[in-house]
C-alpha cells in the first residue's frame, strides 16, 4: 500500500516535469494522429467519391490521352540525354555550396575568435574539395556538350 503510494508520488513528479502544453504521453500525439488520418483521407476520398459521383461514359474520344488536341506521336516517357542530368548534378553541387556558405557567413564572427579562425580554415578546405570535384568533372568532359 505504502509502496503504491510512493510510486504514485513518483509518477506525479514525472508528470509535473512535463512541460505545459505537451500533455500526457499518449494524448500528446493526437495532433500527429489526426494529421496522419487527414493525410490518408485527403487523397483517397476525392477519388472514391468521384467514382460514385461522376458519370461513367466511355467513348472512343474519351479514352484518348487528351480529349482534345493532337494525338501524340511518341511515347510519353521520352528519354532525355544523360548530359542534362550531369549538368543538373553539377548545379546541385554548387547549389549546396551556396546553401552552406550562407549560414556560415552569418555565424562566422562568433563570440570567440578561435571559432572564426577555425571556420575560415574549414571553409577553405570545403571549397578546395569542391574545386577538386569541379576540376575532375571538367577533366572527365562533363562540361562538354557535344
Amino acid at each position: 500500500m505504502l509502496s503504491a503510494l510512493l510510486l504514485q508520488a513518483g509518477m506525479s513528479l514525472t508528470t509535473a516535469r512535463t512541460p505545459a502544453g505537451v500533455g500526457g504521453p499518449v494524448s500528446g500525439y493526437w495532433p500527429v494522429m489526426v494529421f496522419f488520418a487527414v493525410a490518408v483521407v485527403f487523397p483517397v476520398l476525392p477519388v472514391v467519391l468521384g467514382r460514385f459521383v461522376r458519370p461513367n461514359l466511355y467513348g472512343e474520344a474519351k479514352m484518348r490521352p487528351y480529349e482534345c488536341g493532337i494525338d501524340p506521336t511518341t511515347e510519353a516517357h521520352d528519354r532525355f540525354t544523360v548530359r542534362f542530368y550531369i549538368v543538373a548534378m553539377l548545379f546541385l553541387v554548387f547549389d549546396v555550396e551556396t546553401i552552406f556558405l550562407l549560414p556560415w557567413a552569418i555565424i562566422f564572427m562568433g563570440d570567440d575568435f578561435s571559432f572564426t579562425k577555425f571556420a575560415l580554415l574549414e571553409m577553405f578546405f570545403f571549397i578546395g574539395i569542391l574545386v577538386v570535384g569541379y576540376y575532375y568533372a571538367w577533366r572527365k568532359g562533363a562540361l562538354e556538350w557535344a
Partner: protein, 793 residues
C-alpha cells in the same frame, strides 16, 4: 606427464600427406609415394606404441598410474570462459585406439600399395589416406571435445574425399555427398552436445570442455583446466524418463552426442550412407568404413561415459538403437549380392553390437569389440579386396565361386575372418561378442535392466544371422562352381542368373560400365617401376590394361605379396586378438583379463537399478579419466575401493575379483549358448548355400527395406520442393508479389498510387521491406505500450 612424442603420432601422417601431395604429384613414382605414405604411418605407429608401452614414453597403457600422457601445443581458443586447447593426450582408452588405428592403418596402407598399383591418382589416394590417419588420430588423441570434433569433421571430410575418389563415376560423387550430408546431420548433435557440456559445466562453476584435468604446468603457464567429465561426473544421476531428453541437462547432452554417433557410426536412422560408401576403393572401405572411422562414435560414447552413465535414458536409447541396428543390418546383409555390400551391412550390424554394449553400461566390452572387429573386419575387407582384385574388379558374388583353389592365401585368411566374426570359439570375435551378450543379459543398469533379456535375444538372433550371411559370402565366393566362366561366356548360366537381377528394379552391378571398385589405369602403362617386390611382377601392366579392354573370361589369380602379407598378419591378429580379454569365467583366473583391467579405470559405470546416487561419486572418479585421482588408485594393486558397483565390495576392480560361483556358471552356460548359436548359424548357412548358392533372397531384404527410397520421398524431396516452391517462389515471389499486384489493382482503382512505383519486382521488394518494417514497428509498439502503461500507472 608431458611427452611431445605424442604430437609426432598425430602429425607424422600429415607430413606424409603433404609430401605426397607436393612431391608425389610431380614424380608419380609409386615406390616413393608408397614408401612415404607407409613410412609416415609406421613412424606414427612406432611412436604410439612407444608411448603406450615403454616407460620412457609414459607407459600410457601399461603403467600403474592411469594418468594420461599429455602434449599441450597451444591454447587454441579463449573467449571469456570458453577455452579449448590444441593439445593431445593419450590415456588408456585413447592409447588402445591409437595403437590399433596406427597398426591396422599401416597394414592397410601396405595392402593399398598393391591394390592401387597402376592407378592414375596414386599420389592423391595416399595423400588422402594419410590425411585421414592424421584426422583419425586427432580425433582419438584430442584432449578436449572441440579438438575431437575437429578430428570428427576431418575424418568425415577425408571419408568424403576417398569415397568420391573415382571422380569419373557419378555414383561415387553422390555416395560421397550423401555420406557427408548425413554425417553433418549427425554433427549438429555433436556441436550442440559440446555446447551443452560447456553450458552444464559453466553452471557447475567450472566451465570446461576438456577431457582431462590440466594443470598450469601442463599447459605452460596460465590457469589450469578442470576436466569437464569430472565436473559432470560429480553431478547427481538424472532420473529415467523421456522428458529428460528435452530437459537440457546431462541426458540432453548425452542424447545429442549420440545423435552424432549415429551419424558417424552408421546407426539407425543415419546408417544409410555406409553401404553407399562402398563406392570408394576397397582399402578405404577396410580402413575407414570398417576398422577405424566408423568406430569413432563408439569412442566418443565411451570417452564421455561419465556423461552417459549419468543419463540412464540416453543409455537406454543407445542400447535400443544399437540392438535394432544390429538385427536390421544383419537381415539386410543376408540378401546382398555385392561382396562389399554384405560386409558393409555386416559392419553396421557389428557397430550395433558395440552400441548395445555401451547402452547396457559395458563400455569396456564395447571397446574390446571395437578392437577385435577392427582386426577381423579389416581382414575381411582386405580379403574381399584381394578377391575383387583377383577377379578383375568383379564384385558380384553370383559371378564368383570356387575361388579357393585360385587364391589359396586369400581363402585361408578369409576363412579365419569368417570364423572370427561368426563367433567360432577361441577366435577374437568369440570373446568380444560373447562378453557383450553376457553383459546384455546380466545388465542391471537403470535403463536397460528391464529389457536386458529381450536385448539379449535380439543379440543372439543377430549372431545367428551373422554366421549365416558370412557363411553365404564364403560359400558363394570360394566354393561351388566356377561361375565366373559361365557368366562371362554368356551362356545358359547367364539365363539362370538373369532373373535374380533382371527382375529387380536395379540393373545388375556388373552390367554397368563402371560397376564396382575399379582403379583407373594409366592408358599407356607408363606408371613408374612396378616392383615393390617380385610378386608384383607377373601381375603387371599388360594384363592390367588388357582387362580394361575386354570382358572375356579371365582366370582369377592370387594377389601379390604386398596384399597377402597384411592379410596374413591380420588373420593372425584375428585369432589371438581376443586373448587379451578372456573373461574370468572362462579362464578361471589363470589368464588375467588384461583388457578389462586396463580400461576399467578410465570408464564410468552405468548407474545400477539398486544403487542410489552415491553412484554418482564413483562415476565422477572413474569418469575423470582417473586423472584427478592418485595414480595408485587402480591397476593391479587396486587398493582403494572407489566404486560401490557390482562385485567390488572387496576393493578390487571387478576384473580381478572372483564373482560368486553361480554367476560364473551362468556365464559359462551363456558362453556355450553362444558357441552353439555360432555353429548353428554356420551350419545352416553351409547346408543351405552350398546347395543353392544363387538362392534368391526376399525382395524386401535385397532392396534394403526400401529405406533409401523412403528417405528420398519423405525427407529429401519435400525439403527441396519446399525450398523451391515454398520459401522462394511462394514467399519471396508468389505471395508478396500477389499481394502487391492485388493491392496494386485495388490501388489503381482508388488512387493510382502504386502504378508509378518502379516496374519489375522492385515494388515487391519494397513491399516485403515495408511489411517487415510494419512487423518490427508493431513488435516495438507492444513494448512501448507496456512502457506507457508503467509510466501512466
Amino acid at each position: 606427464m608431458t611427452n611431445h612424442l605424442l604430437s609426432i603420432v598425430v602429425f607424422a601422417p600429415l607430413a606424409g600427406a603433404l609430401i605426397n601431395w607436393l612431391v608425389g604429384r610431380r614424380t608419380r613414382n609409386e615406390t616413393l609415394i608408397g614408401f612415404v605414405a607407409c613410412g609416415a604411418v609406421a613412424v606414427s605407429a612406432l611412436a604410439a606404441f612407444t608411448i603406450a608401452f615403454t616407460g620412457w614414453g609414459g607407459a600410457a597403457l601399461t603403467g600403474d598410474a592411469a594418468t594420461p600422457v599429455m602434449s599441450h601445443l597451444w591454447t587454441w581458443i579463449q573467449v571469456g570462459s570458453f577455452r579449448a586447447d590444441f593439445g593431445f593426450a593419450m590415456d588408456r582408452l585413447s592409447g588402445i585406439y591409437a595403437c590399433f588405428v596406427t597398426f591396422v592403418g599401416l597394414l592397410i596402407h601396405v595392402f593399398a600399395t598393391g591394390y592401387m598399383h597402376g592407378d592414375k591418382g596414386f599420389y592423391r589416394f595416399f595423400a588422402y589416406l594419410n590425411l585421414f590417419m592424421f584426422m583419425m588420430l586427432t580425433l582419438v588423441l584430442a584432449d578436449n571435445l572441440l579438438l575431437m570434433f575437429v578430428g570428427w569433421e576431418g575424418v568425415g571430410l577425408c571419408s568424403y574425399l576417398l569415397i568420391g575418389y573415382y571422380t569419373d563415376r557419378k555414383e561415387a560423387g553422390d555416395a560421397a555427398k550423401k555420406a557427408f550430408v548425413v554425417n553433418r546431420i549427425g554433427d549438429w548433435g555433436v556441436v550442440l552436445g559440446i555446447m551443452l557440456v560447456f553450458f552444464l559445466t559453466s553452471h557447475a562453476g567450472a566451465p570446461s570442455i576438456s577431457f582431462f584435468d590440466k594443470t598450469a604446468a601442463t599447459v605452460g603457464g596460465g590457469d589450469g583446466v578442470k576436466s569437464a567429465l569430472a565436473t559432470i561426473g560429480a553431478m547427481p544421476i538424472e532420473a529415467f524418463g523421456w522428458q529428460m531428453i528435452f530437459a537440457g541437462g546431462i541426458t540432453s547432452a548425452a542424447v545429442l552426442l549420440f545423435i552424432g554417433a549415429t551419424g558417424k557410426s552408421a546407426q539407425i536412422p543415419l546408417y544409410v550412407w555406409l553401404p553407399d560408401a562402398m563406392a570408394g576403393p576397397t582399402p578405404v572401405s577396410a580402413l575407414i568404413h570398417a576398422a577405424t572411422m566408423v568406430t569413432a562414435g563408439v569412442y566418443m560414447v565411451v570417452r564421455c561415459s561419465a556423461i552417459f552413465s549419468h543419463a540412464p535414458t540416453a543409455l537406454f536409447i543407445v542400447a535400443i538403437i544399437g540392438a535394432a541396428t544390429a538385427i536390421f543390418a544383419a537381415s539386410v546383409g543376408i540378401a546382398q549380392n555385392d561382396i562389399k555390400k554384405v560386409l558393409a551391412y555386416s559392419t553396421v550390424s557389428q557397430l550395433g553390437y558395440m552400441f548395445l554394449a555401451c547402452g547396457v553400461g559395458a563400455f569396456v566390452a564395447a571397446i574390446f569389440h571395437v578392437m577385435t572387429h577392427a582386426f577381423f573386419k579389416a581382414l575381411l575387407f582386405l580379403g574381399s579386396g584381394s578377391v575383387i582384385h583377383g577377379m578383375h574388379h568383379e564384385q558380384d558374388m553370383r559371378r564368383m565361386g570356387g575361388l579357393r583353389k585360385y587364391m589359396p592365401v586369400t581363402f585361408a585368411a578369409m576363412t579365419v575372418g569368417w570364423l572370427a566374426i561368426s563367433g567360432f570359439p577361441l577366435l577374437s570375435g568369440f570373446f568380444s561378442k560373447d562378453e557383450i551378450l553376457w553383459k546384455t543379459w546380466s545388465t542391471e543398469s537403470v535403463g536397460t535392466a528391464g529389457v536386458g533379456k529381450f536385448l539379449w535375444v535380439v543379440g543372439i538372433v543377430t549372431a545367428v544371422i551373422t554366421a549365416i550371411y558370412m557363411t553365404r559370402l564364403m560359400v558363394m565366393t570360394f566354393w561351388g562352381g566356377e561361375r565366373f566362366r559361365e557368366t562371362r561366356a554368356g551362356g545358359e548360366a547367364d539365363e539362370a542368373h538373369a532373373h535374380a537381377y533382371d527382375a529387380g528394379t536395379k540393373p545388375h552391378d556388373a552390367s554397368l560400365p563402371s560397376a564396382g571398385d575399379r582403379p583407373r589405369h594409366e592408358p599407356g602403362g607408363s606408371v613408374g617401376a612396378p616392383g615393390h617386390d617380385a610378386a608384383a611382377g607377373p601381375h603387371a601392366l599388360e594384363d592390367e590394361d588388357e582387362e580394361e579392354e575386354h570382358h572375356g573370361p579371365v582366370e582369377p589369380r592370387e594377389s601379390p605379396s604386398t596384399m597377402t602379407v597384411p592379410l596374413v598378419v591380420l588373420a593372425f591378429l584375428s585369432v589371438v586378438g581376443g586373448w587379451v580379454g578372456i573373461p574370468y569365467a572362462l579362464s578361471g583366473g589363470a589368464v588375467p583379463n588384461y583388457f578389462e583391467r586396463t580400461l576399467e579405470p578410465v570408464v564410468a559405470r552405468a548407474p545400477e537399478a539398486g544403487a542410489a546416487n552415491a553412484q554418482g561419486e564413483s562415476a565422477l572418479q572413474r569418469g575423470a579419466g582417473a586423472s584427478a585421482q592418485p595414480p595408485a588408485a587402480h591397476g593391479n594393486e587396486g587398493a582403494v575401493p572407489q566404486s560401490v558397483g557390482e562385485g567390488e565390495a572387496g576393493g578390487v576392480p571387478a576384473s580381478e575379483h572372483a564373482p560368486d560361483p553361480a554367476e560364473i556358471s551362468r556365464e559359462r552356460l551363456f558362453t556355450i549358448i553362444s558357441v552353439v548359436v555360432a555353429l548353428v548359424g554356420i551350419g545352416v548357412g553351409w547346408l543351405w548355400f552350398q546347395r543353392k548358392p544363387l538362392y534368391e533372397m526376399p525382395r524386401l531384404l535385397e532392396n534394403k527395406y526400401y529405406v533409401d527410397e523412403i528417405y528420398d520421398a519423405a525427407l529429401v524431396e519435400p525439403i527441396k520442393t519446399g525450398s523451391r516452391e515454398g520459401l522462394w517462389r511462394f514467399f519471396d515471389v508468389g505471395v508478396i508479389d500477389g499481394i502487391v499486384n492485388g493491392m496494386g489493382r485495388g490501388m489503381r482503382e482508388i488512387g493510382s498510387l502504386l502504378r508509378f512505383l518502379q516496374p519489375g519486382f522492385v515494388r515487391s521488394y519494397a513491399a516485403i521491406i515495408l511489411i517487415g518494417a510494419l512487423a518490427v514497428v508493431g513488435y516495438f509498439a507492444y513494448f512501448a505500450y507496456n512502457a506507457v502503461l508503467v509510466i501512466n500507472r
